[in-house]
């Protein structure tokens, strides 16, 4: 069994970590970021932000980059992404 079980509901998701027993909620931006990083696992943080902005048709503003950094941090804390 995979460590993480993911269930998407439209643009949000819930995730069960079979290792810790914890359940997490992914808001739309975090889910989109997770999907983007999984499709292209070799991207850097800046490249992920760029790809995500394209996916969501948004400009890469400083505020957007900050949100992406926060979302990346939360995904790494959950264990869904590896720390570079």
């Amino acid at each position: 069994m995979a460590r993480f079980q993911i269930k998407c509901f439209e643009d949000e998701a819930v995730i069960f970590d079979t290792a810790s027993g914890d359940t997490h909620y992914l808001k739309p931006l975090t889910l989109a970021l997770y999907q983007t990083s999984h499709e292209s696992p070799v991207l850097t943080s800046a490249e992920i932000a760029q790809a995500l902005a394209q996916r969501l048709s948004l400009a890469v503003t400083p505020q957007f980059s900050l949100l992406v950094d926060e979302a990346l941090t939360s995904l790494r804390q959950i264990g869904l992404m590896e720390t570079p």
Partner: protein, 310 residues
């Protein structure tokens, strides 16, 4: 045989002696108590429930509700709830003997019935679909539940939503509806025919009383229902009646946090809970008038039939 078919004398003697065997939903209980107010509460509220010979029949839960000792019989009398000979709670004032039985029964189910994912929520059914009503205390959940079941909805439970882990359907547990504080006179006024037992005052929840479950709900207590909606009720003074779609993912998180055994079930709790959310519509519901709230629920039930859900 139903409890109401026992003679009052036999019932009280058996309750005070070997105990009374009762079936409620999928569970069987053996209840023993020497307290007249427990006998009174059971006779008034559980008349339609099946009873059997306690010597010959297995019971899931063995329960006693009795005074703790001789001294406490005279000085600030108290009552203890015991389960299989253990005392899971501190004693309460004697006036709270009947509510303590109900709270203790909730505890027995929520701590032991892991064949279900158990959510702290009321649940009612109409036209074959169940509406799950999770909500924090003070949201008007019990009042709305009482109003709905007095208006043609079937009571599945006012406190514990039992989701069968094999089928995903809701298992009924139609026990008495717990009413608190202002909701007691409100429901008495809403339906003078409804039977509400004596009030217990100064409990941890304020004044509490229990409403007898509708006869039809008890008769159909072995008939599970398909989940249709998860609706978060919120009573607000002067609020318009509104039903607003809400995030399914956030609804799942709330249910997981308010389930009694989600953590215990691990990945299967996640599977059962997400499957439930997948097949239901999720709403926030604001209301101030009970009649309007019931009309809104009736409209919802009329628009969605079980056959419309895949």
């Amino acid at each position: 045989m139903k409890l109401c078919q026992m003679s009052p004398t036999d019932f009280r003697r058996q309750l005070a002696g070997q105990g009374v065997w009762l079936r409620t939903g999928p569970f069987s209980l053996r209840v023993q108590s020497r307290l007249p107010r427990v006998a009174e509460g059971l006779a008034e509220l559980y008349g339609q429930f099946e009873v059997r010979n306690p010597r010959l029949t297995f019971a899931d839960f063995h329960i006693e509700v009795n005074p703790p000792g001789v001294l406490r019989r005279w000085f600030r009398p108290q009552v203890n709830f015991s389960f299989d000979g253990e005392l899971p709670f501190k004693p309460l004032p004697l006036d709270q003997a009947y509510p303590m039985l109900e709270w203790g029964l909730n505890w027995c189910v929520s701590m032991h019935a892991h064949q279900y994912l158990i959510i702290h929520a009321a649940v009612v059914e109409k036209n074959g679909l169940a509406a799950i009503l999770p909500a924090p205390p003070g949201s008007g959940k019990s009042t709305l539940t009482a109003g709905l079941v007095l208006s043609g909805w079937r009571l599945l439970s006012d406190e514990l939503t039992l989701i069968d882990r094999k089928t995903g359907w809701i298992q009924p547990l139609p026990r008495p509806v717990s009413l608190k504080n202002e909701s007691i006179p409100l429901i008495r006024a809403f339906s003078p025919q409804a039977f509400i037992n004596r009030e217990s005052h100064d409990t941890a929840k304020g004044t509490v009383a229990h409403m007898r479950p509708p006869k039809e709900s008890v008769r159909r207590q072995h008939e599970p229902a398909r989940p249709g909606w998860v609706i978060f009720p919120k009573w607000e003074a002067a609020a318009a009646t509104t039903l607003t779609p809400r995030s399914k993912a956030q609804t799942f998180m709330f249910l997981a946090q308010n389930a009694f055994n989600y953590s215990h079930l691990g990945a299967d709790g996640f599977r059962v809970g997400t499957t439930l959310i997948e097949q239901t519509e999720c709403y926030d519901f604001h209301y101030s008038r009970l009649d309007q709230a019931i009309a809104a629920f009736d409209r919802l039930a009329a628009t969605m039939k079980p056959s419309a859900i895949t």
